[in-house]
Protein backbone atom coordinates (compact mmCIF):
# COMPACT_ATOMS: atom_id res chain seq x y z
CA UNK A 1 0.00 0.00 0.00
CA UNK A 2 1.30 3.43 -0.92
CA UNK A 3 2.34 5.71 1.90
CA UNK A 4 1.02 9.22 2.22
CA UNK A 5 2.99 11.89 0.40
CA UNK A 6 5.33 13.71 2.73
CA UNK A 7 5.90 17.42 2.34
CA UNK A 8 8.48 17.98 5.04
CA UNK A 9 11.34 16.19 6.71
CA UNK A 10 9.81 17.03 10.07
CA UNK A 11 6.73 14.93 9.25
CA UNK A 12 8.95 11.99 8.28
CA UNK A 13 11.06 12.28 11.43
CA UNK A 14 7.91 12.44 13.50
CA UNK A 15 6.54 9.22 11.99
CA UNK A 16 9.94 7.49 12.25
CA UNK A 17 10.12 8.35 15.93
CA UNK A 18 6.62 7.09 16.57
CA UNK A 19 7.71 3.86 14.94
CA UNK A 20 4.87 3.73 12.42
CA UNK A 21 7.27 4.32 9.54
CA UNK A 22 10.61 2.79 8.57
CA UNK A 23 13.24 4.08 6.17
CA UNK A 24 12.86 0.86 4.20
CA UNK A 25 9.12 1.43 3.72
CA UNK A 26 9.84 4.99 2.75
CA UNK A 27 12.47 4.07 0.15
CA UNK A 28 10.27 1.34 -1.33
CA UNK A 29 7.38 3.77 -1.52
CA UNK A 30 9.46 6.42 -3.30
CA UNK A 31 10.71 3.77 -5.75
CA UNK A 32 7.11 2.86 -6.49
CA UNK A 33 6.21 6.52 -6.99
CA UNK A 34 9.15 6.95 -9.38
CA UNK A 35 8.05 3.92 -11.41
CA UNK A 36 4.42 4.98 -11.54
CA UNK A 37 5.42 8.41 -12.87
CA UNK A 38 8.00 7.13 -15.31
CA UNK A 39 6.61 9.29 -18.12
CA UNK A 40 7.95 12.42 -16.41
CA UNK A 41 11.48 11.09 -17.04
CA UNK A 42 12.87 12.79 -13.94
CA UNK A 43 15.11 9.92 -12.85
CA UNK A 44 17.87 8.61 -15.11
CA UNK A 45 18.54 5.80 -12.65
CA UNK A 46 17.21 4.59 -9.32
CA UNK A 47 20.06 3.51 -7.04
CA UNK A 48 17.82 0.74 -5.75
CA UNK A 49 20.43 -1.57 -4.31
CA UNK A 50 22.42 1.03 -2.37
CA UNK A 51 19.29 2.95 -1.31
CA UNK A 52 17.63 -0.17 0.12
CA UNK A 53 20.86 -1.17 1.88
CA UNK A 54 21.24 2.31 3.40
CA UNK A 55 17.59 2.31 4.46
CA UNK A 56 18.07 -0.93 6.41
CA UNK A 57 21.23 0.40 8.00
CA UNK A 58 19.63 3.70 8.97
CA UNK A 59 16.63 1.86 10.44
CA UNK A 60 19.05 -0.04 12.70
CA UNK A 61 20.78 3.17 13.67
CA UNK A 62 17.45 4.79 14.56
CA UNK A 63 16.63 1.80 16.78
CA UNK A 64 19.95 2.04 18.55
CA UNK A 65 19.68 5.83 18.88
CA UNK A 66 22.76 6.47 16.77
CA UNK A 67 21.16 8.00 13.70
CA UNK A 68 22.50 11.16 12.04
CA UNK A 69 20.67 14.42 11.54
CA UNK A 70 19.31 13.44 8.12
CA UNK A 71 18.11 9.93 9.00
CA UNK A 72 15.02 9.35 6.87
CA UNK A 73 15.80 12.03 4.32
CA UNK A 74 15.41 10.43 0.89
CA UNK A 75 17.17 12.63 -1.61
CA UNK A 76 17.91 12.55 -5.35
CA UNK A 77 21.03 14.02 -6.89
CA UNK A 78 21.35 15.84 -10.19
CA UNK A 79 23.21 13.77 -12.73
CA UNK A 80 26.31 15.96 -12.52
CA UNK A 81 27.16 15.09 -8.90
CA UNK A 82 29.49 12.14 -8.33
CA UNK A 83 28.63 9.21 -6.04
CA UNK A 84 31.31 6.54 -5.74
CA UNK A 85 30.65 3.35 -7.73
CA UNK A 86 27.48 4.84 -9.22
CA UNK A 87 26.94 6.07 -12.73
CA UNK A 88 27.01 9.79 -13.53
CA UNK A 89 26.65 11.23 -17.03
CA UNK A 90 25.79 14.97 -16.90
CA UNK A 91 22.94 13.80 -19.17
CA UNK A 92 25.49 13.49 -21.96
CA UNK A 93 26.22 10.68 -24.36
CA UNK A 94 29.92 11.44 -23.89
CA UNK A 95 29.75 10.07 -20.32
CA UNK A 96 27.36 7.21 -20.97
CA UNK A 97 28.37 4.24 -18.84
CA UNK A 98 30.82 6.24 -16.73
CA UNK A 99 31.04 5.18 -13.09
CA UNK A 100 32.41 7.60 -10.55
CA UNK A 101 35.50 6.50 -8.63
CA UNK A 102 34.91 8.94 -5.79
CA UNK A 103 32.03 10.78 -4.12
CA UNK A 104 31.42 14.50 -4.20
CA UNK A 105 31.96 16.24 -0.86
CA UNK A 106 28.23 17.02 -0.71
CA UNK A 107 27.43 13.33 -1.13
CA UNK A 108 29.90 12.33 1.60
CA UNK A 109 28.37 14.88 3.96
CA UNK A 110 24.80 13.78 3.24
CA UNK A 111 25.72 10.12 3.78
CA UNK A 112 27.59 10.91 7.00
CA UNK A 113 24.33 12.29 8.38
CA UNK A 114 22.39 9.20 7.19
CA UNK A 115 20.56 10.70 4.24
CA UNK A 116 19.54 8.08 1.66
CA UNK A 117 20.45 8.81 -1.96
CA UNK A 118 17.76 7.31 -4.13
CA UNK A 119 19.02 8.02 -7.62
CA UNK A 120 20.32 10.42 -10.22
CA UNK A 121 18.17 13.03 -11.84
CA UNK A 122 17.87 14.11 -15.43
CA UNK A 123 19.12 17.57 -16.41
CA UNK A 124 20.20 19.57 -19.42
CA UNK A 125 23.46 18.21 -20.85
CA UNK A 126 26.34 19.52 -18.71
CA UNK A 127 23.78 21.76 -16.96
CA UNK A 128 23.48 23.90 -20.09
CA UNK A 129 19.88 24.85 -20.68
CA UNK A 130 16.73 26.34 -19.23
CA UNK A 131 14.12 23.78 -20.26
CA UNK A 132 15.63 20.30 -19.85
CA UNK A 133 15.21 19.79 -23.58
CA UNK A 134 18.98 19.40 -23.96
CA UNK A 135 19.33 16.04 -22.18
CA UNK A 136 20.78 13.21 -24.26
CA UNK A 137 18.37 10.92 -22.39
CA UNK A 138 15.12 12.65 -23.23
CA UNK A 139 13.28 15.67 -21.99
CA UNK A 140 11.73 15.91 -18.53
CA UNK A 141 8.05 16.80 -18.27
CA UNK A 142 6.63 19.27 -15.80
CA UNK A 143 4.54 17.17 -13.37
CA UNK A 144 2.01 20.00 -13.01
CA UNK A 145 1.29 20.01 -16.73
CA UNK A 146 3.02 17.47 -18.91
CA UNK A 147 2.86 19.66 -22.01
CA UNK A 148 5.16 22.10 -20.28
CA UNK A 149 8.89 22.12 -19.62
CA UNK A 150 10.02 21.77 -15.98
CA UNK A 151 12.69 24.42 -16.52
CA UNK A 152 16.39 23.72 -16.41
CA UNK A 153 18.95 22.77 -16.07
CA UNK A 154 18.02 21.01 -12.79
CA UNK A 155 14.57 20.16 -14.22
CA UNK A 156 14.69 16.49 -13.22
CA UNK A 157 15.49 17.53 -9.66
CA UNK A 158 12.62 20.00 -9.32
CA UNK A 159 10.15 17.72 -11.15
CA UNK A 160 11.04 14.79 -8.87
CA UNK A 161 10.50 16.85 -5.71
CA UNK A 162 7.27 18.41 -6.99
CA UNK A 163 5.91 14.99 -7.99
CA UNK A 164 6.81 13.39 -4.66
CA UNK A 165 9.39 10.96 -6.04
CA UNK A 166 11.86 11.98 -3.33
CA UNK A 167 11.60 14.43 -0.47
CA UNK A 168 14.42 16.66 -1.64
CA UNK A 169 17.06 16.92 -4.33
CA UNK A 170 20.41 18.50 -4.97
CA UNK A 171 20.78 20.62 -8.05
CA UNK A 172 23.49 22.89 -9.36
CA UNK A 173 23.05 26.53 -10.29
CA UNK A 174 25.36 28.33 -12.74
CA UNK A 175 22.94 30.98 -14.01
CA UNK A 176 19.63 30.00 -12.45
CA UNK A 177 19.59 26.23 -12.91
CA UNK A 178 18.14 25.62 -9.44
CA UNK A 179 15.90 28.67 -9.10
CA UNK A 180 14.32 28.81 -12.57
CA UNK A 181 13.05 25.18 -12.55
CA UNK A 182 12.05 25.59 -8.88
CA UNK A 183 9.88 28.50 -10.00
CA UNK A 184 8.39 26.43 -12.86
CA UNK A 185 7.65 23.40 -10.63
CA UNK A 186 6.48 25.27 -7.55
CA UNK A 187 9.23 24.24 -5.13
CA UNK A 188 11.90 25.98 -3.06
CA UNK A 189 15.33 26.31 -4.71
CA UNK A 190 18.41 27.77 -3.05
CA UNK A 191 21.64 28.85 -4.71
CA UNK A 192 24.16 29.44 -1.92
CA UNK A 193 26.95 32.04 -1.94
CA UNK A 194 29.79 31.16 -4.29
CA UNK A 195 32.18 29.10 -2.17
CA UNK A 196 29.62 28.20 0.52
CA UNK A 197 29.37 24.61 -0.73
CA UNK A 198 32.30 22.58 -2.03
CA UNK A 199 32.26 21.88 -5.75
CA UNK A 200 34.48 18.80 -5.38
CA UNK A 201 32.75 16.05 -7.32
CA UNK A 202 30.47 18.36 -9.28
CA UNK A 203 31.07 17.95 -13.01
CA UNK A 204 32.26 21.44 -13.90
CA UNK A 205 30.43 23.74 -16.28
CA UNK A 206 31.63 27.25 -15.35
CA UNK A 207 33.81 27.07 -12.28
CA UNK A 208 33.53 30.67 -11.10
CA UNK A 209 29.71 30.43 -11.22
CA UNK A 210 28.73 26.84 -10.29
CA UNK A 211 27.20 26.16 -6.88
CA UNK A 212 25.37 23.10 -5.56
CA UNK A 213 22.17 23.76 -3.63
CA UNK A 214 19.04 22.11 -2.22
CA UNK A 215 15.61 21.80 -3.84
CA UNK A 216 12.85 21.17 -1.31
CA UNK A 217 9.21 21.68 -0.42
CA UNK A 218 9.95 24.19 2.29
CA UNK A 219 12.53 26.56 3.72
CA UNK A 220 13.18 24.38 6.80
CA UNK A 221 14.44 21.45 4.73
CA UNK A 222 16.57 23.70 2.51
CA UNK A 223 18.19 25.23 5.59
CA UNK A 224 18.92 21.87 7.18
CA UNK A 225 20.44 20.42 4.01
CA UNK A 226 22.58 23.52 3.50
CA UNK A 227 23.80 23.30 7.07
CA UNK A 228 25.00 19.75 6.39
CA UNK A 229 26.62 20.26 2.97
CA UNK A 230 28.18 23.71 3.50
CA UNK A 231 31.68 24.52 4.68
CA UNK A 232 35.38 24.35 4.08
CA UNK A 233 36.72 21.42 2.13
CA UNK A 234 40.29 20.38 1.57
CA UNK A 235 39.40 19.22 -1.95
CA UNK A 236 38.09 22.61 -3.12
CA UNK A 237 40.31 25.62 -2.54
CA UNK A 238 37.43 27.99 -3.35
CA UNK A 239 35.22 26.50 -0.62
CA UNK A 240 35.06 29.21 1.99
CA UNK A 241 36.45 29.09 5.51
CA UNK A 242 33.66 31.42 6.70
CA UNK A 243 32.00 29.45 9.54
CA UNK A 244 28.75 27.63 8.75
CA UNK A 245 25.96 29.13 10.81
CA UNK A 246 22.92 27.60 12.37
CA UNK A 247 20.81 28.04 9.22
CA UNK A 248 18.00 25.83 10.44
CA UNK A 249 17.26 28.13 13.39
CA UNK A 250 15.25 30.31 10.98
CA UNK A 251 14.80 33.08 13.43
CA UNK A 252 14.34 36.50 11.89
CA UNK A 253 13.89 39.28 14.37
CA UNK A 254 13.25 42.94 13.77
CA UNK A 255 12.33 44.66 10.56
CA UNK A 256 14.00 44.12 7.23
CA UNK A 257 15.11 46.68 4.70
CA UNK A 258 14.34 45.36 1.24
CA UNK A 259 15.15 46.76 -2.16
CA UNK A 260 13.42 45.87 -5.36
CA UNK A 261 15.04 46.63 -8.68
CA UNK A 262 12.87 49.07 -10.57
CA UNK A 263 14.11 47.84 -13.96
CA UNK A 264 13.16 44.24 -13.14
CA UNK A 265 9.65 45.04 -12.10
CA UNK A 266 9.11 47.40 -15.02
CA UNK A 267 10.66 44.95 -17.50
CA UNK A 268 8.27 44.55 -20.41
CA UNK A 269 9.05 40.83 -20.66
CA UNK A 270 7.66 40.25 -17.15
CA UNK A 271 4.28 38.52 -16.98
CA UNK A 272 1.68 41.01 -15.62
CA UNK A 273 0.29 38.50 -13.10
CA UNK A 274 3.78 37.91 -11.66
CA UNK A 275 4.32 41.66 -11.48
CA UNK A 276 1.05 42.10 -9.67
CA UNK A 277 1.86 39.32 -7.18
CA UNK A 278 5.21 40.98 -6.44
CA UNK A 279 3.48 44.30 -5.91
CA UNK A 280 1.04 42.59 -3.52
CA UNK A 281 3.95 41.02 -1.66
CA UNK A 282 5.66 44.40 -1.39
CA UNK A 283 2.47 45.88 0.04
CA UNK A 284 2.13 43.01 2.53
CA UNK A 285 5.74 43.38 3.65
CA UNK A 286 5.26 47.11 4.14
CA UNK A 287 2.08 46.49 6.09
CA UNK A 288 4.06 44.16 8.36
CA UNK A 289 6.42 47.03 9.11
CA UNK A 290 9.33 46.21 6.80
CA UNK A 291 10.89 48.83 4.58
CA UNK A 292 10.60 48.12 0.88
CA UNK A 293 12.03 50.61 -1.59
CA UNK A 294 12.78 50.78 -5.30
CA UNK A 295 16.40 51.02 -6.35
CA UNK A 296 17.94 51.54 -9.77
CA UNK A 297 20.11 48.90 -11.36
CA UNK A 298 20.72 50.27 -14.85
CA UNK A 299 22.59 47.16 -15.99
CA UNK A 300 19.82 44.65 -16.57
CA UNK A 301 20.57 44.32 -20.30
CA UNK A 302 24.22 43.52 -19.63
CA UNK A 303 23.63 40.61 -17.28
CA UNK A 304 22.88 37.84 -19.76
CA UNK A 305 25.54 38.90 -22.32
CA UNK A 306 28.25 39.03 -19.60
CA UNK A 307 27.06 35.68 -18.29
CA UNK A 308 27.31 33.99 -21.70
CA UNK A 309 30.78 35.31 -22.53
CA UNK A 310 32.22 34.22 -19.18
CA UNK A 311 30.44 30.88 -18.73
CA UNK A 312 31.11 29.70 -22.27
CA UNK A 313 34.79 30.61 -21.89
CA UNK A 314 34.99 28.58 -18.70
CA UNK A 315 32.99 25.73 -20.24
CA UNK A 316 35.23 25.52 -23.30
CA UNK A 317 38.17 25.06 -20.96
CA UNK A 318 36.46 22.69 -18.52
CA UNK A 319 35.06 20.44 -21.23
CA UNK A 320 38.38 19.83 -22.96
CA UNK A 321 38.89 16.90 -20.57
CA UNK A 322 36.42 14.84 -22.62
CA UNK A 323 38.88 13.41 -25.10
CA UNK A 324 37.80 9.84 -25.79
CA UNK A 325 40.93 8.55 -24.07
CA UNK A 326 40.57 8.76 -20.29
CA UNK A 327 36.91 7.92 -19.77
CA UNK A 328 33.51 7.93 -21.36
CA UNK A 329 32.56 7.61 -25.00
CA UNK A 330 35.24 7.05 -27.63
CA UNK A 331 34.26 7.21 -31.28
CA UNK A 332 34.56 3.96 -33.23
CA UNK A 333 35.04 6.12 -36.36
CA UNK A 334 38.43 7.52 -35.39
CA UNK A 335 41.64 6.56 -37.17
CA UNK A 336 44.34 8.56 -35.38
CA UNK A 337 44.76 10.62 -32.22
CA UNK A 338 43.36 13.86 -33.62
CA UNK A 339 40.31 12.13 -35.04
CA UNK A 340 39.85 10.36 -31.69
CA UNK A 341 39.42 13.79 -30.11
CA UNK A 342 37.38 15.35 -32.90
CA UNK A 343 35.04 12.46 -33.69
CA UNK A 344 34.50 11.57 -30.03
CA UNK A 345 33.63 15.15 -29.10
CA UNK A 346 31.51 15.81 -32.21
CA UNK A 347 29.51 12.62 -31.75
CA UNK A 348 29.41 12.73 -27.94
CA UNK A 349 28.33 16.33 -27.26
CA UNK A 350 24.88 17.67 -28.11
CA UNK A 351 24.27 20.86 -30.15
CA UNK A 352 23.93 23.31 -27.23
CA UNK A 353 27.14 22.08 -25.59
CA UNK A 354 29.01 22.42 -28.90
CA UNK A 355 27.57 25.90 -29.41
CA UNK A 356 28.85 27.00 -26.02
CA UNK A 357 32.27 25.41 -26.48
CA UNK A 358 32.60 27.23 -29.82
CA UNK A 359 31.55 30.60 -28.39
CA UNK A 360 33.88 30.11 -25.43
CA UNK A 361 36.76 29.15 -27.72
CA UNK A 362 36.12 32.29 -29.76
CA UNK A 363 36.05 34.73 -26.82
CA UNK A 364 39.29 33.25 -25.50
CA UNK A 365 41.07 33.11 -28.85
CA UNK A 366 44.03 35.32 -29.81
CA UNK A 367 42.86 38.71 -30.99
CA UNK A 368 39.42 38.56 -29.33
CA UNK A 369 40.31 37.87 -25.69
CA UNK A 370 40.44 41.54 -24.64
CA UNK A 371 37.40 42.63 -26.64
CA UNK A 372 35.13 39.89 -25.29
CA UNK A 373 36.47 37.91 -22.35
CA UNK A 374 38.37 40.62 -20.55
CA UNK A 375 35.57 43.11 -21.29
CA UNK A 376 33.02 40.76 -19.70
CA UNK A 377 35.24 40.36 -16.62
CA UNK A 378 35.27 44.14 -16.27
CA UNK A 379 31.50 44.28 -16.66
CA UNK A 380 31.32 41.56 -13.98
CA UNK A 381 33.13 43.90 -11.60
CA UNK A 382 30.76 46.79 -12.39
CA UNK A 383 27.75 44.52 -11.76
CA UNK A 384 29.25 43.14 -8.56
CA UNK A 385 30.17 46.55 -7.16
CA UNK A 386 26.69 47.92 -7.83
CA UNK A 387 24.97 44.85 -6.36
CA UNK A 388 27.17 44.99 -3.24
CA UNK A 389 26.42 48.69 -2.92
CA UNK A 390 22.67 47.97 -2.86
CA UNK A 391 23.23 45.20 -0.30
CA UNK A 392 25.17 47.57 1.94
CA UNK A 393 22.06 49.70 2.28
CA UNK A 394 19.51 46.88 2.22
CA UNK A 395 19.20 43.41 3.75
CA UNK A 396 17.65 41.84 0.67
CA UNK A 397 16.84 42.36 -2.96
CA UNK A 398 13.40 41.15 -4.02
CA UNK A 399 12.78 40.25 -7.65
CA UNK A 400 10.94 37.76 -9.86
CA UNK A 401 12.56 34.35 -10.34
CA UNK A 402 11.45 34.08 -13.95
CA UNK A 403 9.82 36.40 -16.50
CA UNK A 404 6.92 33.95 -16.94
CA UNK A 405 5.63 30.52 -15.98
CA UNK A 406 6.69 27.21 -17.56
CA UNK A 407 6.43 27.23 -21.35
CA UNK A 408 5.58 24.50 -23.84
CA UNK A 409 8.14 22.13 -25.32
CA UNK A 410 9.71 23.52 -28.47
CA UNK A 411 8.55 27.06 -27.78
CA UNK A 412 12.04 28.42 -27.21
CA UNK A 413 14.36 25.59 -28.21
CA UNK A 414 14.81 26.90 -31.76
CA UNK A 415 16.18 30.24 -30.64
CA UNK A 416 19.21 30.22 -28.31
CA UNK A 417 18.89 33.90 -27.39
CA UNK A 418 15.23 33.59 -26.43
CA UNK A 419 16.22 30.65 -24.25
CA UNK A 420 19.17 32.54 -22.74
CA UNK A 421 16.87 35.42 -21.72
CA UNK A 422 14.98 32.96 -19.50
CA UNK A 423 17.84 33.58 -17.04
CA UNK A 424 17.55 37.36 -16.98
CA UNK A 425 16.52 37.56 -13.30
CA UNK A 426 18.66 34.70 -12.01
CA UNK A 427 22.15 35.33 -13.49
CA UNK A 428 22.81 38.38 -11.32
CA UNK A 429 23.37 36.20 -8.24
CA UNK A 430 25.87 33.98 -10.09
CA UNK A 431 27.73 36.86 -11.72
CA UNK A 432 28.14 38.54 -8.34
CA UNK A 433 28.54 35.43 -6.17
CA UNK A 434 25.67 36.19 -3.77
CA UNK A 435 23.10 33.73 -2.36
CA UNK A 436 19.58 33.68 -3.81
CA UNK A 437 16.44 31.67 -3.19
CA UNK A 438 13.31 31.10 -5.26
CA UNK A 439 10.16 30.67 -3.19
CA UNK A 440 6.86 29.34 -4.55
CA UNK A 441 4.73 32.43 -4.04
CA UNK A 442 1.99 32.27 -6.57
CA UNK A 443 -0.15 30.42 -9.02
CA UNK A 444 -0.90 31.94 -12.37
CA UNK A 445 -4.38 31.94 -13.92
CA UNK A 446 -2.87 29.52 -16.47
CA UNK A 447 -2.60 27.01 -13.63
CA UNK A 448 1.18 27.01 -13.36
CA UNK A 449 3.19 28.13 -10.34
CA UNK A 450 5.83 30.84 -10.21
CA UNK A 451 8.51 31.86 -7.76
CA UNK A 452 9.67 35.04 -6.17
CA UNK A 453 13.36 35.52 -5.59
CA UNK A 454 15.23 36.96 -2.64
CA UNK A 455 18.94 37.73 -2.74
CA UNK A 456 21.21 38.71 0.14
CA UNK A 457 24.83 39.75 0.65
CA UNK A 458 27.55 37.08 0.45
CA UNK A 459 27.41 34.49 3.26
CA UNK A 460 24.14 35.90 4.63
CA UNK A 461 22.29 32.60 4.14
CA UNK A 462 21.18 32.59 7.78
CA UNK A 463 19.33 35.87 7.34
CA UNK A 464 18.12 34.97 3.85
CA UNK A 465 16.57 31.69 4.94
CA UNK A 466 15.03 33.12 8.09
CA UNK A 467 13.36 35.91 6.17
CA UNK A 468 12.28 33.47 3.44
CA UNK A 469 10.32 31.54 6.01
CA UNK A 470 8.63 34.71 7.10
CA UNK A 471 7.87 35.75 3.54
CA UNK A 472 6.45 32.40 2.52
CA UNK A 473 4.01 32.70 5.43
CA UNK A 474 2.50 35.65 3.56
CA UNK A 475 1.21 33.41 0.83
CA UNK A 476 -1.40 30.69 0.92
CA UNK A 477 0.74 28.42 -1.29
CA UNK A 478 2.95 27.07 1.45
CA UNK A 479 3.83 23.71 0.08
CA UNK A 480 4.57 23.05 -3.50
CA UNK A 481 2.98 19.81 -4.49
CA UNK A 482 -0.32 20.59 -2.86
CA UNK A 483 -0.81 22.43 -6.12
CA UNK A 484 -0.67 19.05 -7.86
Amino acid sequence: MALKTYFSFQEIQHDLQLGNLSCLDLVNDYIEKIHSQNDINAFLEIFEKSAVESAKLVDQKIKSGKAGRLAGLVIGIKDNICYKDHKVSASSKILEGFESVYSATVVERLLNEDAIIIGRLNCDEFAMGSSNENSAFGKVKNPLNKKMVPGGSSGGSTAAVAAGMCLAALGSDTGGSIRQPASFCGVVGLKPTYGRVSRHGLIAYASSFDQIGPITHNVEDAALILEVIAGKDEYDGTASSVPVKNYSALNFTGKAKIAYIRECLENEGLDPEIRSKINDTIAELKAAGHTVEAVDFPYLDYLVPAYYVLTTAEASSNLNRFDGVHYGYSSPNSFDLESTYKKTRSEGFGPEVKRRIMLGTFVLSAGYYDAYYSKAQKVRRVLTDKTNEILTDYDFILLPSTPGTAFEFGQKSGDPIKMYLEDIFTVQANLTGIPAISLPMGKHSNGMPFGIQLMAARFEEEKLLAFSKLMISLTDIKESSKAL
Binding site: V101, Y102, G195, S208, F209, E234, G237, T238, A239, S240, S241, Y302, V304, P305, A306, Y308, V309, N320, D323, G324, V325, H326, Y327, G328, Y329, S330, S334, F335, L337, T340, K342, K343, R345, S346, F349, P351, K354, R355, I357, M358, L359, T361, F362, S365, Y368, A371, Y372, K375, A376, Q377, K378, V379, R380, R381, V382, T384, P416, I417, Y420, G433
Partner: protein, 97 residues
Protein backbone atom coordinates in the same frame (compact mmCIF):
# COMPACT_ATOMS: atom_id res chain seq x y z
CA UNK B 1 32.62 40.95 -35.59
CA UNK B 2 31.37 38.66 -38.32
CA UNK B 3 32.06 34.95 -38.11
CA UNK B 4 32.56 33.19 -41.44
CA UNK B 5 33.15 29.57 -42.43
CA UNK B 6 36.91 30.01 -42.19
CA UNK B 7 36.68 31.29 -38.59
CA UNK B 8 34.42 28.39 -37.68
CA UNK B 9 36.92 25.92 -39.17
CA UNK B 10 39.69 27.49 -37.10
CA UNK B 11 37.65 27.55 -33.88
CA UNK B 12 36.43 24.01 -34.46
CA UNK B 13 40.01 22.82 -34.78
CA UNK B 14 41.00 24.63 -31.58
CA UNK B 15 38.03 23.05 -29.77
CA UNK B 16 38.65 19.66 -31.43
CA UNK B 17 35.16 19.61 -32.92
CA UNK B 18 33.91 19.03 -36.45
CA UNK B 19 31.05 20.78 -38.23
CA UNK B 20 29.97 19.85 -41.71
CA UNK B 21 27.27 20.96 -44.15
CA UNK B 22 24.07 21.86 -42.27
CA UNK B 23 25.64 21.83 -38.86
CA UNK B 24 28.32 24.22 -40.11
CA UNK B 25 25.72 26.61 -41.54
CA UNK B 26 23.85 26.45 -38.24
CA UNK B 27 26.88 27.17 -36.07
CA UNK B 28 27.95 30.11 -38.30
CA UNK B 29 24.46 31.61 -37.92
CA UNK B 30 24.19 30.91 -34.19
CA UNK B 31 27.61 32.35 -33.41
CA UNK B 32 26.88 35.51 -35.37
CA UNK B 33 23.56 36.00 -33.60
CA UNK B 34 25.03 35.33 -30.17
CA UNK B 35 28.01 37.60 -30.78
CA UNK B 36 25.85 40.52 -31.84
CA UNK B 37 23.82 39.89 -28.68
CA UNK B 38 26.87 39.91 -26.38
CA UNK B 39 28.37 42.95 -28.13
CA UNK B 40 25.85 44.89 -26.07
CA UNK B 41 28.66 44.93 -23.49
CA UNK B 42 30.58 47.45 -25.63
CA UNK B 43 27.99 50.09 -24.69
CA UNK B 44 29.11 50.01 -21.08
CA UNK B 45 32.09 52.17 -20.26
CA UNK B 46 34.64 50.10 -18.36
CA UNK B 47 37.63 52.48 -18.56
CA UNK B 48 39.63 52.23 -15.35
CA UNK B 49 37.73 49.10 -14.26
CA UNK B 50 39.93 46.11 -13.58
CA UNK B 51 38.66 42.67 -14.59
CA UNK B 52 36.99 40.64 -11.83
CA UNK B 53 38.82 37.33 -11.91
CA UNK B 54 38.45 35.60 -8.54
CA UNK B 55 35.08 35.09 -6.90
CA UNK B 56 36.49 33.88 -3.62
CA UNK B 57 38.21 35.72 -0.79
CA UNK B 58 40.24 32.68 0.14
CA UNK B 59 43.95 33.28 -0.39
CA UNK B 60 46.87 30.87 -0.22
CA UNK B 61 44.85 27.80 0.68
CA UNK B 62 47.71 25.53 1.67
CA UNK B 63 48.04 22.01 2.99
CA UNK B 64 50.83 19.69 4.05
CA UNK B 65 52.61 18.19 1.06
CA UNK B 66 52.02 14.63 2.14
CA UNK B 67 51.85 11.55 -0.06
CA UNK B 68 48.60 9.65 -0.08
CA UNK B 69 46.74 7.61 -2.65
CA UNK B 70 43.48 9.22 -3.74
CA UNK B 71 42.49 6.48 -6.15
CA UNK B 72 44.19 3.26 -7.13
CA UNK B 73 45.79 2.56 -10.47
CA UNK B 74 43.02 0.13 -11.34
CA UNK B 75 40.32 2.66 -10.45
CA UNK B 76 41.97 5.33 -12.58
CA UNK B 77 41.80 2.98 -15.56
CA UNK B 78 38.33 1.70 -14.74
CA UNK B 79 36.46 3.96 -17.17
CA UNK B 80 39.04 4.05 -19.95
CA UNK B 81 37.61 3.14 -23.36
CA UNK B 82 40.91 1.46 -24.34
CA UNK B 83 43.50 0.28 -21.89
CA UNK B 84 45.85 -2.50 -21.00
CA UNK B 85 46.80 -3.52 -17.48
CA UNK B 86 48.95 -0.44 -16.92
CA UNK B 87 48.12 2.25 -19.41
CA UNK B 88 45.48 4.21 -21.28
CA UNK B 89 45.76 3.23 -24.94
CA UNK B 90 45.73 5.75 -27.77
CA UNK B 91 46.31 5.40 -31.51
CA UNK B 92 49.97 5.57 -32.52
CA UNK B 93 51.01 9.19 -33.05
CA UNK B 94 54.81 9.16 -33.12
CA UNK B 95 56.25 7.68 -36.30
CA UNK B 96 59.71 6.05 -36.52
CA UNK B 97 61.82 7.85 -39.09
Amino acid sequence: MKIDHKTVDHLAHLARLEFENESKEAIVNDLNRILSFVEKLDELNTDNVSPLIYMTDETNVLREDSIHETISHAQALKNAPKKDSDYFRVPKFVEKK
